[in-house]
Symmetry: C2
């Protein structure tokens, strides 16, 4: 079993009210793969520039992530500079340089075509092209962002229609549907075709919808958040890693996978870049999963409550 | 068993982007008592003006709420006008007329002094005065608001020190402690003396802290929210009603009480004023409690997850 992920590998500069880091590893693929690799084999389809540090390749290699399909092209690696204010949500983009990512044309090798596919946030035209190549994927999972909802909605809707699982955050869900409540938005989005919808709700946690079933969890409580970058992709990595590891696509197992993703994201935001993901073990994840169960579960209501 | 509640009874004008209502029943005491009365006896200590409609007295009477200690004074009942924008949080106050509430001097009858006491949001000086009278209360539960944190912090801290349970919302918790994270704020507030702290987190739900234990729940998912007024007091009414009904003050039972409060608040916001509370049954509450359990609980992680 394996997951193929297609998206960006980036070099980030990040500023928060508490700290500032430069030229750190970023991009959806990096967070996703370093999260999912705790549980399953991950294969990256991506591109970097000739400036991409050998150390970062080593980061992936140490985690046995398949980097054979990362193309190295003459030029600069995708670069993003973002700044967070005190509420640590919705960063301000200070600078984006696409570099070699600007003409990224992913090709899926034959032996990847049966994998679970994670289409990280990229141009819907590219996502459609990948879908055409990936005709026998076990599970197609889609992420996107506000920018594509605003600029390429029609193409995006075609991708959404073909997704088994669509992962989106609450502001994107509102933008896509023009509905104020995430729970009304969810209904509309399910009508667009995806079998399962996950809405990431930032500090409110996450919600999952499929048919008439749904599931909601709060975010794991943290006293300090250092850098929210990559939380969503780490979430997706934890979620899909768990599904691929267990091979169980029942809604009951999706619930546990969602909690596992939630836990993964809670670790990512505790440090800058992918640092925390490199310093935790599967056992840490398991312990936090169990802790989360303890702090969110409650017993049945007393049957005898009557006045 | 009974709960004594001290606070405001008001006549509200409420405007949301969807509707507008005038001269409806409001005030912390109204929401609290009409929520708690599903589960236990409630006794109101309050004051209204000579303009207070007999119909509203009937609302309380029909629910067997003890209104013998509501004083009727010559003058106007406390009046609040608020307007909500599209995000339906933090209303803008358009007008406040204290009326007869301006020199409210509550006196606790001898036979109320063993009750659970809910000190709804009022002047901390009045709250201290009540505490002096209420020397044998089984459980002292406190609410407050930003205004008192900013204008009477020292007095408020004395009340907090004496509270068994302190209920506050997340922006108030941040203001009181100067901490950005509600989970750090919680630690600081527990150091002020209350045995248990509950932080209401709006659309993110609620969190409860005591010693080293804590518990978090998401808000009940709703597609339409009509009017958030009174959600916090309904929450407190459901929470304390459940505790008084069951007579169980263990942390495990507090968890269920918190969920019950959460459910109560979810009903209140589905209609204007106290309307929804007048149109649901204990069975509705029980069903939504069970539904909430179903949509938030998950099974244990597979023990065998290893790569």
């Amino acid at each position: 079993m394996a997951i193929t992920v297609v998206g960006s590998i980036a070099i980030d500069n990040i500023e928060t009210p508490f700290n500032k880091v430069s030229n750190v590893l970023g991009g959806s693929v990096s967070f996703f793969s370093l999260a999912a690799c705790f549980l399953t084999e991950v294969r990256i389809i991506g591109v970097v520039g000739s400036d991409f540090s050998q150390n970062y390749f080593e980061v992936f290699k140490k985690k046995s992530i398949d980097i054979s399909q990362i193309k190295i092209k003459e030029g600069k690696t995708f670069h993003w500079e973002g700044k967070y204010d005190y509420n640590l949500s919705d960063p301000k983009t200070l600078n984006t340089e696409l570099g070699v990512f600007s003409d990224f044309q992913p090709i899926i090798p034959e032996n990847f075509k049966n994998d679970i596919l994670f289409l990280a946030n990229i141009d819907p035209d590219i996502q459609l092209n990948i879908l055409k190549q990936m005709n026998s994927s076990r599970l197609i999972v889609l992420d996107t962002m506000n920018f594509w909802i605003e600029s390429k909605k029609e193409k995006l809707l075609k991708v959404i229609e073909n997704a088994d699982i669509f992962i989106i955050n609450s502001s994107e869900a509102r933008l896509l549907t023009n509905q104020a409540s995430v729970f009304s938005a969810a209904k509309s989005i399910l009508n667009l075709g995806p079998k399962t919808l996950i809405i990431k709700r930032g500090e409110c946690g996450a919600a999952m919808f499929t048919g008439n079933k749904f599931f909601i969890v709060p975010a794991y409580p943290l006293e300090d958040i250092k850098d929210p970058t990559g939380a969503g992709d780490s979430f997706a990595g934890g979620f899909l890693g768990y599904i691929d590891n267990t091979g169980d696509i029942s809604f009951e197992n999706f619930k546990k996978a969602l909690v596992f993703g939630n836990i993964m994201a809670s670790y990512t935001v505790e440090d800058f870049s992918v640092n925390k993901l490199l310093n935790i073990s599967l056992n840490d994840l398991r312990n936090r999963f169990n802790k989360f169960k303890e702090i969110t579960h409650f017993e049945n209501i007393y049957n005898e409550i009557i006045k």
